[in-house]
Point group: C3
């Protein structure tokens, strides 16, 4: 039984920057020596999200527009009013999407579809340095 | 410590077909020999979702209607415009709901509410064959 | 390798009561003896959600308002019409947010941001007693 954990730092642009982190996670899975098990991905913070998408520019534009409707950047937020922040909509998007996900590992590979990539969505209103932690658990067989 | 992984194939109807997969997963949990631990469920692809609902026709209709509002099938999608596809809304629903979830296993049973079933939601615009991978980790005690 | 599972009971107010459960979960992680691994949190039922937020009153008000728009309490629900219930919107919120999440454990601590708390959202229309199960897996190193 292997338990392997690694954190990586990523620079993001903010404003719902959607970053493909699949290869980064696959590399950590490779290092872990796990052949069968689970890779758990978690982003630190309350203005980001982790999910999967087909990573092509059409989907990314569609997802940004849908999130702009679900949690518009320029409406009243009690959070902004209270703290002088501008990222109330980022907090909402993060709470709804969630900041962590787990995917299976089979024969040392993330078991995803060909058109399914793991992404970090940075909803914050400015560039950030983000920490992603990957926990890989399973067997070497 | 047990790590047990099994994939199953499922036929779906598309158009937000919502399939109750609880018994299928419970069966895999049983086979695994795990009595205390975690069952992780993951669907392959970027136009499906995994979640739990009370599996009764009222809820299913309500969920479909809510998703039709959140990501309407018949509006402009950059994905559709770019690729000639018709499933832009399916991609959005999948990114927002997510394609994987984990639930506890206690005394060899999925620890869910009586009116809480695990479902595969197929958002795609046509029937599909779907692969679901279940990873069960834990102890035989 | 440690597999540790504990369930706790919580009283909630309903109507999207958002309860900070971070310290409760941290306590269970401490008890587990796991220093490196994963903590998986799951709520039993189909009218609740588990996610993370910055736990301050502005965000909580913003999240409640966003959910009121996403799944308004006082519109037609087939679930309500069929069963004489009043909690159709609670079911929708739960299916969309999900009832389970996993977060990393590093040096015996939940690896979360300073302004990132784990919350139980009780969407039901009345006070409830809720059961949360925490499964901690990992190593003592």
């Amino acid at each position: 039984m292997i338990v392997f954990q690694r954190s990586v730092q990523l620079s993001t642009e903010g404003e719902t920057d959607i970053v493909n982190i699949t290869e980064t996670i696959q590399q950590i899975v490779r290092e872990s020596g796990v052949r069968t098990g689970l890779a758990s991905i978690s982003g630190k913070g309350s203005t980001l999200g982790i999910t999967t998408v087909e990573y092509e520019s059409g989907i990314l534009a569609d997802l940004r527009r849908a999130l702009d409707q679900l949690a518009p950047p320029n409406q009243f937020y009690a959070h902004n009013a209270r703290w002088g922040d501008e990222n109330g909509s980022a907090h909402l998007r993060s709470a709804l999407m969630g900041t962590s996900r787990s995917y299976p590992v089979t024969e040392a590979l993330l078991r995803l579809g060909t058109w399914q990539q793991i992404v970090l969505c940075d909803f914050d209103d400015r560039p950030r340095n983000r920490e992603i932690t990957v926990t890989v658990m399973g067997t070497a067989e």
